[in-house]
């Protein structure tokens, strides 16, 4: 029997970098998609080589989900995604019902690309809206406006996407409860199948973190708190079910790819800086673009055999050496509890061969007392209050060394 595996493909280019973004992505400029730039071609080449290096092991797996993320994958030229998908299909066997997602940003998607995606079997599209307000978007350094989002959304629908996610953000500088509610309202009108509602986090090293004026304009704690609460109430009232701390979906549209991450399923990440959890090991590719390109392209010239190329790639991977049962247990819990369905003691036992209560009985008991956890017949999950202060609970699931 083939094992389930998920694939992540990273496209580390954006038209413009958002001021809060600390993901691995390079600013490529407005003309990136039109220029037959060397960098783009080289990157695609390397990416495909990397995918092909798994040819020798791929027959053990059946691909359950694919996620093409970034960066901004829709910045690529027509034909580019086709190349990636064709490579994937030539190496891996995809389930007929595989969930295949592509991330797009408004302003970079047109009908031609959307139709290409549909032709390739991509069946889920994720659009980064963040806010419907032009001022808020401009402050974040985003290139689009609300009208462009609407156009992208329409384009996706018309091309045949029946599973669309929209990303929105709260706690933005100068954002008010009123303006945030307006964002939610307008998104609900589009009726996407899935909504990811994140809070803006000020990450060290981002331009935002150094902009004192914007930092000062971040909403007060109470306002931020209200936005967060309103998200849950409004989306659930509109028929979306919260299935993870920041994710809401109509029945049957929960993102399967994300659930793989949260339930310790195996996945391979391709491309610059992409993270993998594969055959019991966690590793990620180098974040150095030139090193990545050189290693893969030079290697591909010298080494025709996939195993040899894989070994070469391993040299530029950052390997998380410490993955052991304890770490996996911790991850199983702090990722699993992010999902509203919680963690089942039975599944825990199946995965680890240890009783959940033997390992975590005390923590669970303590947080049942604090009112942050519930244990309903062997299903442990966060209470509403527990979701709000989840870091307090989740950090307690880290075991003492």
């Amino acid at each position: 029997m083939r094992k389930n595996l998920s694939l992540y493909v990273h496209i580390p280019f954006c038209v413009k970098k958002c001021i809060y973004c600390d993901f691995l992505s390079f600013e490529a400029g407005q003309d990136f998609c039109r220029l037959p730039g060397n960098e783009r071609k080289q990157y695609l080449h390397a990416l495909c080589m990397e995918i092909m290096s798994y040819r020798s092991v791929s027959d053990r797996y059946m691909i359950n989900t694919v996620f093409i993320g970034g960066g901004t994958p829709s910045i690529l030229m027509p034909g580019d995604i086709s190349l990636i998908m064709a490579t994937i299909r030539s190496v891996f066997k995809l389930r007929p019902d595989a969930e295949i997602t592509i991330e797009v940003n408004p302003g970079t998607l047109d009908a031609e690309k959307a139709e290409e995606y549909i032709r390739l079997g991509i069946n889920r599209i994720s659009i980064g809206l963040q806010s419907v307000h032009e001022e808020e978007l401009r402050m974040l350094g985003r290139i689009h406006n609300y009208d462009q989002f609407m156009a992208s959304f329409q384009t996706a629908r018309e091309a045949g996407f029946h599973n669309i996610n929209v990303d929105i953000m709260s706690a933005l500088p100068k954002q008010t409860i009123h303006s945030y509610l307006e964002t939610i309202e307008k998104v609900l009108k589009c009726s996407p199948e899935h909504i990811s509602a994140y809070s803006l986090m000020v990450e060290a090293g981002t331009p935002l973190s150094e902009d004192e004026e914007l930092i000062a304009a971040l909403p007060e704690e109470d306002a931020e708190r209200k936005m967060y609460e309103a998200t849950g109430i409004l989306l659930q009232a509109a028929g979306y079910r919260r299935y993870e701390i920041s994710n809401y979906a109509k029945e049957g549209y929960a993102c399967r790819h994300n659930i793989v991450y949260w339930s310790l399923g195996e996945y391979l990440g391709f491309g610059l800086g992409a993270a993998s959890f594969f055959e019991g090991r966690r590793f990620s590719n180098t974040r150095d673009l030139l090193l990545y390109l050189h290693t893969v392209c030079d290697g591909a010239v010298k080494e025709q055999r996939p195993e040899a190329l894989r070994r070469l790639l391993q040299k530029i991977q950052i390997r998380d050496e410490d993955v052991n049962t304890e770490r996996l247990m911790e991850e199983y819990m702090f990722l699993g509890l992010r999902m509203m369905k919680g963690v089942s003691a039975e599944d825990f036992y199946t995965y680890f061969g240890h009783s959940l209560y033997e390992v975590y009985g005390e923590v669970i008991k303590r947080h049942i007392r604090t009112g942050l956890l519930l244990d309903e017949g062997g299903i442990v999950r966060l209470t509403d209050r527990g979701i709000d202060v989840s870091n307090v609970v989740l950090s307690d699931f880290l075991l003492d060394p």
């Binding site: 994140y198 701390i245 959890f277 966690r282 991850e331 870091n391 880290l398």
Partner: protein, 604 residues
């Protein structure tokens, strides 16, 4: 056996107000005597501890032996004994002075006499030293040497007309200073054939040599093999080495005889055996009586010191023991706090001494410390007539068994430019000072005398003085004694649990203000918890101030990290690590910096 001719020896120290150029003059003297080339000179040869260099003050007395060929063609041995420059170290200063026959008094040609100048001069005169004034910084545009000469003659009453007018910084007229040292400072006049009598003016612990005693020989001599005995501590040992002080190093010599200044090593392992001020004699042929003036160093300020990481308690103990080897004034004994765990109640000469020790523990021993509010020693008179010396507020007996309490007072002298007299008087008033007198030293300067409670000056009195006088005030004090006072113990309750490490004793009139500030400060330092936390300041059962930390409403990672689990993990690990560094009081976790923050209530 012929001993060194005392006529060729001059033992002296340099005294000055801070910043008047004491260390610079010492550098120049060492330089001019030709033992060192300019290139070898570190900027300030005498101050050889890092910390001293940074703070620009001399902590431990150091000395140096130099050779000067005078204009009369004779070679003289100068023993320059450096004295610590801070009021905390008054006793060490006095012992250093006792080792000398003379003192070079450095006075700034622009600023003239300052409070500390006077204090040091009086101390020198008390020790029968010949005081030889030197006017420094004559090259400053604001220099007025004639006025300063008059001031010295009028205020101190010593001859200053022919005082060398120098610039230590630029090396002007240094020879004149050297010549006057030869002419004016008397040679020692001990009896080399009498039984050994030597004064310990400092000691140092060296991991190879053991304790190194810095001493001045008054009578007799000491050499390798002599059995020495310390009169006050009774410790005995056989001398391993004797020597003199080169610049920055020890130079062994055959013997130390009457009049000389040098060091003795005698395989002593504990600096406590060799306390400053004690008399060293020959155990086989002891001197009849000890040198006068010995005093056991008396810690005045106490605080609790705890390792942030409880597991490092033994390291802290080792570090304190090591520091104590070099610092007889430092005292410590183990104590336990409910809030902070195992630590030590440490005694210091003053707040500066405390800060220096704390910094050395952190820097040299890599310890992370939590210190409790510094306090003084209170005297508690209980109803059954007993007297308790209280160094830790937690040990205060039940109020019903207390008859009355006393707190230490100091006599303070503040020299201030007349423009700021009002501001300084107000400050002293606020600090519960009792006005004694005011004298005009001259038209622009006044000397204020106040009696002040020690606990009011150990925190930030210096800083307040400086800021309210724009730097034109100086301050000196000495212990006066204990005075009956309306003292109360202020307790801090966090979530209704008393936090022992935050309790302290203070005058009842200042309790309300202090309690309110502490609650405010703690509110800002303790993170929100899952529940509401009241913070209360109380005297006995009476709550005098209260703040509330609202319950935490949100602490959630609502961000997309995709498959990068490591980042999520790091965030949670950080959170867990943060929790570990907190102190648990009941079910409240208190960050360590909260304990420190209440020490700095007056900063804003």
């Amino acid at each position: 056996m012929a001993h060194l001719d005392q006529k060729r020896i001059r033992n002296f120290c340099i005294i000055a107000h801070i910043d008047h150029g004491k260390s610079t003059l010492a550098d120049r003297i060492i330089e001019k005597t030709g033992l060192l080339t300019r290139r070898e000179m570190q900027d300030q040869v005498l101050d050889n501890m890092d910390l001293e260099r940074e703070r620009g003050i001399t902590i431990k007395a150091q000395s140096v032996r130099i050779v000067y060929t005078a204009k009369n063609g004779e070679e003289y041995i100068f023993n320059l004994i450096d004295t610590p420059g801070h009021v905390d170290f008054n006793y060490e200063v006095s012992r250093s002075l006792a080792a000398c026959e003379g003192a070079v008094l450095v006075v700034d040609a622009a600023q003239g006499i300052e409070a500390q100048t006077l204090a040091n001069v009086y101390l020198a005169i008390d020790h029968n030293l010949e005081v030889m004034p030197v006017i420094n910084k004559i090259d400053l545009p604001s220099a007025d040497p004639d006025r300063v000469v008059n001031e010295i003659e009028d205020v101190i009453g010593i001859e200053a007309m022919d005082a060398p007018r120098i610039s230590a910084k630029n090396g002007i007229n240094i020879e004149e200073v050297l010549e006057q040292i030869v002419e004016k400072i008397p040679a020692p006049s001990g009896d080399a054939d009498a039984p050994l009598k030597a004064l310990i003016f400092d000691s140092l612990y060296d991991s190879y040599k053991g304790v190194i005693i810095f001493c001045r020989i008054f009578d007799g001599y000491v050499k390798k093999g002599t059995n020495i005995r310390m009169l006050a501590t009774g410790a005995t040992a056989e001398v391993v080495e004797t020597g003199t002080f080169g610049a920055g190093r020890f130079v062994p010599c055959e013997e130390l005889s009457a009049g000389m200044v040098g060091y003795i090593t005698a395989s002593l392992k504990n600096v406590k055996d060799t306390t400053v001020g004690d008399t060293v004699t020959d155990a086989d042929r002891p001197c009849a009586e000890a040198l006068p003036g010995y005093k056991k160093a008396q810690p005045m300020v106490f605080c609790g010191m705890y390792p942030s990481d409880g597991a490092r308690y033994p390291d802290l103990r080792d570090a304190l023991e090591k520091l104590q080897l070099n610092d007889a004034a430092l005292s410590f004994e183990p104590e336990t706090s409910v809030a902070l765990g195992f630590g030590f109640r440490c005694g210091f000469l003053g707040l500066l001494h405390l800060e220096i020790v704390q910094e050395r523990l952190e820097r040299e021993f890599n310890l992370d410390l939590v210190t409790t509010a510094p306090g003084v020693v209170y005297r508690v008179h209980t109803t059954d007539g007993a007297v308790i010396e209280l160094t830790n507020p937690s040990n205060l007996p039940d109020p019903s068994s207390i008859d009355y309490m006393e707190e230490p007072f100091v006599s303070a002298e503040i020299m201030v430019v007349t423009d700021y007299v009002g501001a300084i008087m107000q400050l002293c008033q606020e600090r519960r000072g009792i006005y004694k007198s005011m004298e005009y030293m001259e038209a622009t300067r006044a000397l204020l005398k106040y009696d002040l409670p020690l606990n009011e000056i150990i925190y930030d009195f210096f800083d307040a003085l400086k800021s309210r006088s724009r730097g034109y005030a100086s301050f000196d004090y000495e212990m006066k004694g204990y005075v009956r006072s309306e003292l109360v113990k202020l307790d801090i309750l966090i979530n209704r649990e008393e936090v022992d490490a935050l309790s302290f004793i203070l005058h009842k009139d200042t309790a309300y203000e202090r309690g309110r500030k502490m609650c405010e400060k703690l509110k800002g330092e303790i993170p929100r918890h899952l529940f509401e936390i009241p913070i209360q300041a109380a005297i006995g059962n009476k709550v005098i101030a209260r703040e509330t930390i609202k319950a935490m409403r949100k602490d959630v990672l609502a961000k997309c990290y995709g498959g990068d689990i490591t980042r999520k993990r790091k965030l949670l690990e950080k959170q867990k690590e943060g929790k570990k560094r907190m102190r648990q009081i009941g079910n409240v976790e208190i960050p360590q910096k909260a304990f420190m923050s209440v020490l700095k209530l007056d900063e804003e």
